[in-house]
Symmetry: C2
Subunit: 475 residues, 2 copies
């Protein structure tokens, strides 16, 4: 199936993937193969600017991930790739999150008592164990940077900390770059965070034109959890919901994380550090409980698509430009597909109006916010089990319990079919990877900044039609 051209992509049902899912939720870490199915989720993908320099990538990602409460750092880089991960939390005592964060290592290293004096050479705090990765790779062929979210799950609560040093640097860079649009957005975000206003999910548009195809995939790849599995079964149904929510979203906020809880259900996969087995296993119980409730029904995940347009800003429905963003993962599948770039833009999918997603389930939203998005979280309860972040499980983190792998193989089979249809769609066998699409041939800067410089208005003022505009912008 061609993910770009087919709206009602039915890849999932009856596919090997489905079979895989059937027993994915049952065992914890005992069944590597079984759990592997639960590891991945899909995330929304963004059109990737044609970065002219490696250094442009991080700021672009930061614009996307800061609002999600994720502070990224570079794990490794070279001329051909940059791997990002969550910043290891090691808050200074002066930061407001100090009391909460400093309890991390002791909490996370529950196994330490078992092995006295155990020390790993690197990566000690549990924050550092987070499997979440974003991989940017430069294609010499395409002469473009491509970005893939390798594992869209987290072993820790997500929070936006407007006081973090890195964020301050990021913010000051925005000023340097005169990226007023982004500055406004983040000012708003900061305000909300500092005011303890819940950072509700809002529409974060994407002009990649592939949003609904991706959501189709989500449907196809249900999570192991019953809650996840039930809801979205048909693409069309999903799309319906999206549209419903779509209309109201803009009214809510201009600037918000697309997804409150990026974590996936049973998730975990990808933590391949042996030494972590024990700690994770120890926490699996609480986590599982948490995960179940924390599952975001993916029918509500993809909210607000817009017409994709080639080079620039997505505009929120409310008339305010919406920053591009990555959506949260929905299923535990492992796969990656690759943006066909220009060819893709011409696919039928682009003609159809994209569905919009937002949190339509208030219940789920609440949980999510409590979990990782409620700004209050930053102030008091973070990382404190006494003041449970998650009221349901009393767990302070949404962690991946069992490191597992293997679903990639299953998915790759499924996806190979797709590949056959659209040669530009590349499936990466690598386990648990999802991808942010990019479109090639455009020299747009960061998606947040329209390539013709933005004024500082939030409304639509992009001059040429971008992919997103053409396909999804409703107006």
């Amino acid at each position: 199936m061609n993910c770009v051209s087919n709206d009602d992509i039915s890849v999932p049902e009856g596919s090997p993937v489905s079979a895989t899912m059937s027993h994915s939720g049952s065992n914890e870490e005992s069944q590597p193969a079984a759990l592997a199915k639960d590891q991945n989720k899909l995330i929304h993908l963004d059109p990737i600017p044609d970065f002219q320099d490696k250094g442009e990538i991080k700021p672009w990602l930061q614009k996307i991930y800061y609002p999600q409460g994720i502070e990224i750092v570079i794990e490794r880089s070279d001329r051909l790739k940059v791997v990002f991960k969550c910043k290891a939390s090691k808050r200074g005592k002066n930061s407001q999150g100090w009391a909460a964060t400093k309890s991390e290592s002791p909490v996370s290293l529950s196994k330490q008592p078992v092995l006295e004096g155990s020390k790993k050479k690197r990566s000690v705090s549990r924050f550092n164990l987070c499997p979440f990765r974003i991989r940017a790779t430069y294609s010499l062929k395409r002469k473009r940077w491509n970005i893939v979210v390798v594992n869209n799950s987290h072993s820790h609560p997500l929070k936006f900390d407007p006081d973090s040093d890195d964020y301050k640097k990021f913010k000051s860079k925005l000023r340097e770059d005169n990226d007023w649009e982004a500055i406004k957005k983040f000012d708003e975000l900061e305000y909300r965070a500092r005011s303890n206003l819940p950072i509700e999910s809002s529409v974060i548009t994407c002009d990649c034109g592939l949003t609904n195809e991706i959501s189709s995939f989500n449907i196809v790849l249900p999570s192991a959890k019953p809650t996840m599995i039930n809801k979205p079964k048909s693409t069309s149904k999903l799309r319906q919901q999206r549209k419903e929510t779509f209309l109201k979203i803009p009214q809510q906020h201009d600037f918000l994380p697309n997804t409150t809880h990026v974590d996936s259900p049973t998730v975990s996969g990808f933590i391949d550090d042996l030494s972590l087995d024990q700690p994770f296993a120890a926490l699996s119980t609480a986590t599982d409980a948490f995960t179940d409730l924390n599952e975001i029904d993916f029918t509500s995940i993809f909210h607000k698509p817009q017409h994709p347009h080639r080079q620039h800003e997505r505009h929120s429905i409310t008339g305010t430009p919406v920053p591009p963003n990555v959506f949260s993962p929905l299923t535990n599948s492992t796969f990656q597909y690759y943006s066909p770039t220009d060819e893709l833009l011409n696919s039928p999918a682009h003609q159809r109006p994209p569905s919009v997603s937002t949190h339509h389930s208030t219940q789920l939203v609440d949980i999510c916010e409590k979990q990782s998005w409620d700004p209050h979280y930053n102030d008091h309860s973070q990382d404190s089990l006494a003041t449970p972040l998650c009221e349901i499980t009393n767990s302070d983190m949404c962690r991946a319990d069992t490191p597992q792998r293997g679903i990639g193989d299953v998915l790759s089979q499924e996806l190979n079919a797709i590949k056959a249809i659209d040669s530009d769609l590349q499936i990466i066998d690598e386990s648990m990877s999802t991808q942010i699409f990019h479109r090639s041939g455009f020299d747009s800067e960061s998606p947040w900044t329209p390539h013709d410089q933005l004024t500082q208005d939030n409304d639509e003022d992009s001059n040429d039609k971008s992919f997103w505009d053409m396909n999804f912008a409703r107006q």
Copy 2:
């Protein structure tokens, strides 16, 4: 006892340290406390130049350690400290040592099979597990850099690789600095290495004036191994031997490592990474056997002391200036003492002629060379068990078997007595640390470079006699 003023320091015998040693060699990793005793050794200490810049330290240490077959890298540094360790061997496939080295990780990670998919975030190759550390710390009070060898043992064979990139950089820097003396020495070393000539230990003098005191300590702190324990019991006896060997040393070679095998006997201590327990345990048997035979009788370790003098070059007894160097560790004790700087120089010890050390035991030397110093090692057998480096154990490495700690406490008690006598002598409770002495108040460059500048000819055409010319030029 004052280590500086007393030649025949008798600190050791009958001390808690001795008691400690009694059972140190018995258990492997099961008894942390017991094994702790075997962990450390002493090393010879050098006068430390008054580094004006942090960056001067590494080259200085490289001059000392390259000849010992140790390639150091910075593990961590900041304005107040620099921690060096052995470079993790990850030979490029193009380097001659490739075939041998690439087997490292599999060999070392014997536990991996146990835990499938286990990966540590950092430090994977066994080379990276080496406990050897050199710590340079800047004292704000003294306004000087002090250098301490924290654990003078290695988990791998030592070899000098004249083809390593780092060495080449080091060498080119010597040229930049017009450090002809050092260049000559290293040219000689390279020649020997490439010619597969054994790099025999030669006299590397030290003008710190504390050399014999240190050797006294060695005597005092026998290793857990019987071979170690028996030999050196009295300082005077040791000194005798040193003098004997001293006279012949110069004749042997021009440029050589003071000690062929820096490894210590039962050694190990200091590897505090839990995940390493298994692999090490697995290898402990072979290692122990090896260690026993590989023990260098410390009566032969400290060969060639000299009269300590304040500012400059140490001159070998033969009349040639000898570069300062670090001697190999002898016992498994953990302690550190601190250079009293100027005060120390005035201690009685400085009046006595230092003893000279060299390998007087050919048997031991042979083993050592086979183990870590024979240049042939570089060419074929390195890291290959098939061509055992150590003919005795067929082990390719002298590794620390069991990570342990605790001896420091015992030793500190012992050393506190010393401290009481000489307030400048600082004992560090930290386990397994030895120290390189420094003298304060002098702006000497690297010890290898005579303070009056050398010219650049390798043969003797330097205007002023260089160390090398005076001592080793054969013609």
